[in-house]
């Protein structure tokens, strides 16, 4: 069995029409035609005629949860989510940025998505490696069974072999290449601060032009801000024009958080964000 992208696209269009027509939602967040098949774009359908521009193919990697926080509170939104995207939706609900009742979640069970830059198949190396959305109202396709389950943290094996100094050298080298385009921030569903701390002037938290210290300040702080919140969709790494493997750090922090607090980001609506929630039995490991 493989994923029938055309069938998902058709179902997406049917559902979108139904929802817009019935007035159940005022916008549908999904994917639209780009300048070629390899470059579909994030797309907002507001009226029936917009629906025809929608597409869904293996290059539709963008995490549409990124756009949820752009609309005024209470806006009724339908959103197409792939497995990791659904976790971002849950995380945003946990953080009370959006309300579950304002959403219609169109779940897309999927695997074999492709990186538009390299053409490589995307797997658990850069994402959470799930095949089915964690939360949805309507499933656009059949649940995926029988695919090999790979831990999203397996890719860390090499990284974890490095000692402290080697890791520091590794990140220093990688982050020095950053050109501060902020594509990672733009692609991330959890980066919704406006203005971002790095754009502030009083106090000025870090150098704004691309140079070593400012780059470290920006990225390390962003890693920290995403601790226990990153849903491992991998969009930051795909968005990066200089291919910094940001997913490595996020995965490492996510793994530590999961081990320490027993919960992964965006898995249950009832969970509280791990780093701002105090439980009596919380691990003290973080203090060591």
């Amino acid at each position: 069995m493989s994923i029938n992208f055309k069938q998902i696209e058709d179902k997406l269009k049917t559902e979108a029409k139904k929802l817009l027509e019935g007035g159940k939602v005022s916008i549908v967040l999904a994917y639209g035609k780009g300048y070629d098949e390899k470059h579909p774009m994030p797309y907002v359908a507001r009226k029936m005629s917009d629906v025809e521009n929608m597409v869904f193919n293996e290059f539709c990697t963008a995490n549409m949860a990124r756009y949820l926080v752009r609309y005024p509170r209470g806006t009724k939104i339908a959103i197409a989510v792939k497995p990791a995207d659904s976790r971002a939706v849950i995380q945003l609900i946990q953080e009370e940025k959006i309300k579950r009742e304002d959403l219609v979640i169109l779940g897309i069970p999927v695997y074999g998505m492709k990186n538009f830059k390299t053409g490589e198949t995307i797997d658990s190396k850069t994402t959470c490696g799930r095949y089915n959305p964690v939360i949805y109202d309507t499933l656009l396709g059949e649940e995926v069974h029988g695919q090999p389950v790979v831990s999203p943290y397996d890719v860390l094996a090499e990284y974890e072999k490095m000692d402290k100094d080697a890791r520091w050298a590794f990140w220093k080298k990688e982050l020095d290449r950053c050109i501060r385009c902020y594509a990672c921030r733009k692609a991330c569903p959890m980066c919704y601060c406006d203005p971002c701390f790095i754009d502030q002037n009083k106090p000025k938290w870090g150098e704004k032009s691309p140079e070593s210290h400012g780059n470290l300040m920006y990225h390390l702080t962003r890693f920290h801000h995403l601790a226990g919140r990153c849903v491992d969709c991998g969009e930051c790494s795909r968005a990066c024009p200089v291919d910094i493997p940001l997913y490595l750090f996020h995965k490492k922090v996510a793994k530590e958080c999961e081990e320490m607090f027993g919960q992964a980001a965006g898995m249950k609506i009832e969970d509280k964000p791990a780093l701002v929630n105090f439980r009596v039995d919380d691990s003290d490991k973080i203090l060591e």
């Binding site: 509170r73 953080e95 009370e96 940025k97 919704y192 601060c193 406006d194 203005p195 971002c196 701390f197 502030q200 009083k202 106090p203 938290w205 801000h225 509280k272 964000p273 780093l275 701002v276 929630n277 105090f278 009596v280």
Partner: protein, 649 residues
Amino acid sequence: MSRIGVFVCHCGLNIAKTIRVSELAQFASTLPDVVVAKDYKFMCSTPGQEMIASDIKEHKLDRIIVAACSPLMHEQTFRKVIENAGLNKYLVTIVNIREQVSWVTHDVEEGTSKAKALLNGAVYRARLLAPLTSRFIDVSPDVMVIGGGIAGIQAALELANTGKKVYLVEKNSTIGGHMAQFDKTFPTLDCSACILTPKMDAVLQHKNITMMTYCEVTEVKGYVGNFDITVKQKARYVDHDKCNACLACTEKCPGKGVSEWDEGLVKRKAIYIPFPQAVPQKPVIDRDACTFFIKGKCRLCEKVCEQKAIDFEQQDTFSTVKVGAVIVATGYDLMNTKPLVQYGYGKYPGVYSALEVERLFNSAGPTSGKVTLRDGKEPQAIAILHCIGSRDKNNYEHCSRVCCMYSLKFAHLFKEKTSADVYQFYIDMRAPGKGYEEFYNRIIEEDVKFIRGKGARVAESADEPGRMIVEAEDTITGKFIKLPVDMVVLSPAMIPRSDSKDIARLFNLSTDKYGFFMERHPKLAPLSTMSEGIFIAGVCQSPKDIPDTVAQANGAAAEALTIVVKDKMELEATTAMVNPASCCACQNCIRVCPYGAPFFNEQKGVSEINEALCKGCGLCASVCPASAIIARHFTNDQVLAEIEGLMEF
């Protein structure tokens, strides 16, 4: 441009011994904006204070830095000084060069260098400090006392007598606590009930005391002067408003529960009052023992109750009480000695724990005051073993303080009530109290045998079935002895209540390694805690006898009064505020605030902070990803400047 004055304190030799103070002052005078820098032997003394005040006038200073001890000691002193000299009191900065420098190193080079770094940081920060205005809030005039033992009763009565309203919360169905279980009290041997029950009754009658028995605190919100405390009233299954205390129900009840009051030596009914003088004198139903709750039928109590007070449908109810101060007096448990298998408690019927023996002596106890063993015989030889679990590195290192004295009391009562030989096995005899040593001498003369050596083991006697052998080393003669007895009394360690950790969590108290609540200062603030407005009294702080407990209770009442006697109270101006332009509405501040100060403004889509609730702890500022929260007096600019100053070294 600010004009900074730096004042370095020698604290006698406390600081001057490890830090070259004059060099530090000289260094300070080279720092930006520093107009005057001086060192002096005791900055907190009157001449020291006057020096600061006159320099403020002479040099037109607008920022003061005092390098001295911890701000906990003298920040308020120096705030007063500069306030009297006409400056805003928040413009003084304390640099702690005693606790954080001179007391933690002997190395003069290191000490002086660290002191310079701290001072450099302080100067950088002081330049950015802004004057702040204090706020005043109304104080709730009522007090809550938690625990209805002698400490709680005493504190409640003292406070109520001053005209303040007191809520006395007790988790059992009666007040009285452990003292109500005792027969006699050392060293005067007056009857415990005779001196306690009048006080219990006074609580019941007092118009200013609201007794909340069978209640537990479940949530604490607010802060000193304005606590909102949620109290759970556990279901009694008896409507106490209707009940006229005829107690007909307790006679008819077929249920059998374990009498906590008699330390499990006898059974009690399922609907019961714990003891005849219980206050309130109204019964509750023990669900676990009640035939109706177990089997689904019975309801005999309901049938005999003329007042129709029995209500099997009753549920736990919650109420919230507003108080200005709280006294925690939750008392103690005795250590469970069963795990110490060498003493055979629970294995040999002749081994008793101290509280069980108290009940045997008591005329309202299971044996009506006769000292008989579980088989009904009178003991011929009795061994009292001190320090079971306490003064013991394997269990509790602390001395339980009262065991020596009550063991002497036991010896006296055994002598009075039986013809048995009584042996005391002790490590050291500790009798430091008024009349205690005299009591000890009196008991020596009563032909009680004292063996200086800790009881090592209690074993079954091979020769005489039913008797036991106490083994110990007599450390005076150096001989190992084996003594046949038929009753062994264990004096177990006094330990904090099993739920003291929960209470500590509710009220933000710290505990020592055993779980006793920590006082703010072991000598100078023994009844205050690190949580302002929460005071402690009695054994929940550390083991102590009744006179000390009562003294502490009176002290805690006075401390609580210092808060609730005021109409208004000054609050720190160091609160946090939200810059709405930067707020990203993640609501982290709301999640982490222990005081419930931030709230979400749905209309504006940003967080806001209720300054009346804010204590200025800074948690919200630290979790704000967009740095939209400004903690006054610790703004990002100020803190970053201080870090910069520190890093220059």
